[in-house]
């Protein structure tokens, strides 16, 4: 499953806007390149905040979100019953 897909290093200027607004704290500025990078991909919640604030359109987000917990995924049952 994809969430935030890509930060295009050719377009990114390293302004840090996406890092600042990410509610899940998954983005960082790479200490070597000085550009934004996806540090904790699995925690992305597909909220588009990074894409919206990017001044150079360097961020792409896929609309398909990761598998989320929902009531029909499991049922609480006795260990004995599986």
């Amino acid at each position: 499953m994809k969430v935030i897909q890509l930060i295009d290093t050719a377009l990114c200027k390293g302004c840090g806007s996406c890092v600042e607004v990410c509610p899940m704290d998954i983005l960082r500025i790479d200490t070597i390149s000085g550009l934004a990078k996806i540090a904790f991909l699995q925690e992305c919640q597909t909220c588009y905040q990074c894409m919206v604030v990017c001044p150079t359109d360097a961020v792409s987000v896929c609309p398909r979100r990761k598998k989320i917990p929902m009531p029909f995924n499991y049922k609480m049952e006795d260990d004995e019953n599986g």
Binding site: V21, Q45, M51, V53, P71, M76
Partner: protein, 579 residues
């Protein structure tokens, strides 16, 4: 189409002493509408220094910003009595009616104040800025806010954020508050960690407002960062929490971030189908597809037991809805829902051409920190605002927003009043500074084997099953309580973090674990069904015995102390009349 960006993203940090201490009059934790309105009201009431802290960015990452910005304002032209009655009935008579009354009565003034500051609302093609609130007959909400070219929740957040800046509020973004400080039973600040560097910061203040939103247990829908942070801060201090058994449910797409839209769409003729292509909601609720969101979610659970799903489908092909989208939403609405429509179309998926798979989704805990009318908790100097404060059962679009504005300005004004009348707490010293600083970084120093992300996954496996979330029963709840307590005891020894990012996640995991235990405990205690809270083994609403609130607080030694408090209907404007 790209959504408008919000105003200034970056905020300059306020003053920090060399020892990483910040001295302030009032500390506000959280920067959505509740936090920002608190800060503004406190500054407007004469406080000199107000520090606003957020674990993400100031305003920009808040739940308020993520919302579409729809808000119920009761203006002079609106029928207050009718709206008040409908709201209390929707909240199943567990409303804090004094708060609801004051909120509605002053909401028109809040609207006027924001208009003075430059906020305005787009009008619909029929000339009104309002729409009916889904699942209600009378309530109306203003739906399309605008401010400096910004739309959606960003507009209502930025209008107040600008006012806080203008009054000299000091911002501290990327700081996760991990514990409150106290002195002789009064709150006097907090300790937090910088999420980027891992450094510990100490805020010394004479009052604290908790405005950290509620808890989604890390679920998505763009509220995965609502992790019960304020609940634990208040609980650890000994404050009571209430209504924790109510967990707001809604419906949405399992694959895409379409949530909290079907109640509005159903008013435009959109329909729910079961796995046989049949309408089904009318079998479980008389309002059918136009029922309150939690009833649709519960209907899906009921239909599952009759073999009708999952999967379920939501059909957005209605002509009225498509026209509404083209004429209003596409042109004027902002937020992730419209962004989602456009991204889907780019990928060749058109939600207006074929029904989409749809499921019940659990949103956020409705309960929270119990306060009085002044938004003060049981602990002197500690206030709560926004959705961190206990809300009434049953979420409706547009209510949380106005409640956050109301409680925010109330908490800020009363905190200022409290602080101006209190003694200088700095003279008495802090009782728990070294302990709080040590606890803040404890997971970093732990060599245990469990990572926060694993804990969060386990919490979700315990609370999300439908016999725990949508249709509870005592046997399942008891099993879940046992599981969450086991997890808690293992976590105390084994939870470890190896980076500042993981450190804040570890605190979120601890906060969610406590929230889960409170939710399960209150759910087991309420032996009836009411609103969002449905008990398979007590299916009826029991107004004779359960027009009561369940309050929970720290009982010491890892135990939760419980209290059943009758709703004082005899003192309230609207008494329950039976039925």
């Amino acid at each position: 189409m790209k959504l408008e960006s919000s105003g200034s993203i970056f905020t300059k940090r306020g003053r920090i002493a060399k020892d990483n201490t910040i001295d302030t009059d009032l500390l506000v934790i959280g920067s959505g509408l509740g936090g920002l309105w608190s800060a503004w009201a406190a500054l407007d009431s004469g406080l000199n220094r107000v520090a606003i802290v957020d674990k993400c960015s100031i305003g920009e990452s808040s739940q308020s910003k993520m919302s579409a910005g729809a808000t119920v304002y009761c203006t002079k032209r609106d029928p207050f009595d009718l709206w008040f009655k409908e709201l209390v009935e929707q909240q199943k008579y567990l409303s804090r009616q004094d708060m609801v009354e004051d909120m509605l009565k002053t909401s028109g003034q809040l609207l006027e104040k924001q208009k003075e500051w430059g906020l305005w609302y787009e009008k619909m093609p029929w000339g009104s800025p309002t729409l009916h609130v889904g699942g209600t007959k009378n309530l109306k909400m203003h739906v399309l806010p605008r401010y400096k070219g910004i739309g959606g929740g960003g507009a209502i957040v930025n209008v107040i954020k600008d006012q806080v800046l203008a009054k000299g509020g000091e911002f501290y973004s990327k700081v996760m508050i991990t514990g409150l400080l106290h002195s002789q039973g009064k709150v006097c600040g907090a300790v937090g960690v910088d999420r980027m560097t891992g450094e510990t910061l100490t805020f010394k203040s004479r009052g604290v407002v908790i405005a950290t939103a509620d808890c989604s247990f890390g679920n998505t829908g763009c509220i995965g960062h609502s992790t019960g942070d304020g609940y634990k801060l208040a609980y650890d201090m000994g404050a009571r929490l209430t209504n924790m058994e109510f967990w707001g449910s809604n419906t949405g797409s399992p694959q895409y971030s379409f949530e909290s839209i079907s109640d509005t769409a159903a008013n435009f003729g959109c329909r729910f189908y079961n796995n046989k292509g049949q309408y089904f909601t009318h079998k479980y609720t008389s309002a059918g597809d136009k029922a309150e969101p939690f009833k649709i979610a519960q209907a899906m659970a009921d239909e599952a037991e009759n073999g009708g799903g999952p999967p379920y489908y939501f059909d957005m092909r209605s002509l009225a809805w498509r026209l509404g989208y083209q004429l209003v939403l596409k042109r004027k609405m902002t937020g992730f829902v419209t962004q989602m429509f456009e991204e889907l179309k780019r990928q060749g998926i058109d939600p207006f051409e074929r029904p989409m798979e749809w499921v019940p989704l659990m949103r956020t805990i409705r309960g929270g920190i119990r306060t009085d009318m002044n938004c003060m908790t049981d602990i002197p100097g500690l206030f709560a605002a926004g959705t961190a404060q206990a809300l009434d059962p049953n979420g409706l679009n547009g209510i949380s927003t106005v409640r956050a504005m109301w409680s925010g300005q109330q908490a800020g004004r009363q905190a200022a009043r409290y602080i101006n009348g209190s003694y200088d707490i700095k003279a008495t010293g802090v009782d728990n500074l070294s302990e709080a600083r040590s606890l803040a970084v404890k997971p970093l120093k732990n060599s245990g084997a469990i990572k926060p992300v694993e804990v969060i996954g386990l919490i979700q496996m315990i609370v999300f099953p439908y016999n725990i979330s949508l249709k509870k029963d005592s046997k399942s709840l008891l099993m879940a309580i046992r599981a969450i307590r086991n997890l808690k005891s293992v976590m105390e020894i084994e939870l470890a973090a190896d980076s500042p990012h993981e450190l804040s996640k570890a605190h979120e995991a601890m906060n969610m674990t406590l929230t889960a235990e409170l939710y399960l405990t209150a759910s087991l205690l309420r032996e009836e069904s009411r609103g969002d809270h449905y008990r398979e083994d007590y299916q009826k609403t029991d107004n004779k015995n359960w027009l009561k609130w369940i309050n929970l607080k720290n009982g010491g030694n890892g135990n939760i102390a419980t209290e059943i408090e009758p709703v004082p209907l005899n003192k309230y404007k609207l008494d329950y009349r039976g039925g």
